[in-house]
């Protein structure tokens, strides 16, 4: 059996693998950007998690004390 007889099947299989893996990587990266953007947008509007807010309050207090 020669490689040239079935080269189309081999190329199609590798193309499918590249496509599926490419879509997976793109999905993960785009989703990460979207979530980061949404979080940044909420924080810009002053909506933060309590733990994050407490941390930033502490930082401000420390800065005041140092000043």
């Amino acid at each position: 059996m020669q490689a040239t007889n079935h080269i189309g099947f081999i190329v199609a299989a590798y193309a499918a693998a590249f496509a599926v893996v490419g879509v997976l990587i793109a999905w993960v990266m785009l989703d990460y950007r979207a979530q980061r953007r949404k979080l940044a947008d909420l924080e810009l509007r002053g909506i933060t998690r309590r733990s994050a807010a407490t941390r930033s309050e502490r930082t401000m207090e420390q800065a005041k004390e140092e000043a």
């Binding site: 007889n5 099947f9 081999i10 299989a13 693998a17 893996v21 979530q35 979080l39 998690r49």
Partner: protein, 242 residues
């Protein structure tokens, strides 16, 4: 830092941010080496060059099953131990496992046509693999249907545990039934039936695919934690407004 410390989502995010670039780099190197090995591997004496499809098909099949295995352990974590990251891990693994199962089915069809003369037969191995893909779609649909993540997690965990029955069926289908799909040839009593010049590239590609799975899974878990933070903040915003 103990493994249990990663149960804290914030600590997991710190870990993920540090680990993902390294994991991505190692995965890239593993694929460069694996693809090179796959291309220079000799043709099979019976199958010819179509044996090169095996370097994609077999790791995809393993990872499709590994994905459901990860989800099964996570399902136990959700239902039994109520681990804070268990349902995050399960939800993140589902689309990745589904993609690898789909890749297994597609590459299997493209390998089957020149070897068997057909793209598809309803034999036990192929059908049980298709069932796994449909189970993945079911779990993904369930996650998207139920809005509350904790309720969705419990429902998805039950479906995952029930679906885990398919894993031994896939594995032993070629032993239990007379199938067109070949029998076990890699991990079997008495050693592998594959010659080392083909077996070694197969293992290298399997390692590369597994590293890809781990990288994508950690990244998808990070996304899911961030998505839940966005949801919590929006709920806080809504309750403050009302």
């Amino acid at each position: 830092m103990a493994l249990a410390d990663f149960a804290n989502p914030s600590r997991f995010l710190t870990f993920a941010n540090r680990a993902i670039p390294w994991l991505g780099g190692v995965t890239l190197i593993a694929f460069a080496f694996g693809l090179n090995q796959a291309m220079v591997a000799p043709d099979d004496y019976q199958q010819g060059a179509t044996v090169k499809i095996m370097f994609l098909h077999v790791p995809s099949a393993w990872l499709g099953m590994l994905g459901w295995g990860v989800m099964t352990i996570a399902a136990l974590g959700t239902l039994v131990w109520r681990h804070p990251l268990a349902d995050v891990a399960a939800k993140a693994a589902a689309p990745i496992g589904a993609a690898f199962t789909l890749l297994c089915l597609v590459t299997g069809s493209l390998w089957g046509r020149p070897e068997w003369g057909t793209y598809w037969v309803w034999d036990a191995r192929l059908t049980s693999e298709l069932v796994l893909f449909l189970l993945y779609l079911g779990v993904i649909a369930l996650w998207r249907t139920v809005e509350d993540p904790s309720r969705a997690a419990r429902a998805a965990a039950i479906l995952t545990l029930v679906g885990a029955i398919d894993l031994p069926i896939i594995k032993f289908s070629v032993d239990w039934w007379n199938t067109l799909h070949q029998g076990t040839s890699v991990f079997r009593l008495g050693g592998s039936t594959i010659y080392p010049t083909i077996l070694i590239p197969l293992f290298v590609m399997a390692v590369a695919f597994t590293l890809l799975f781990v990288t994508l899974h950690v990244a998808a878990m990070r996304n899911e934690i961030l998505r839940r933070r966005v949801r919590t903040l929006r709920l806080m915003q809504a309750s403050a407004a009302s």
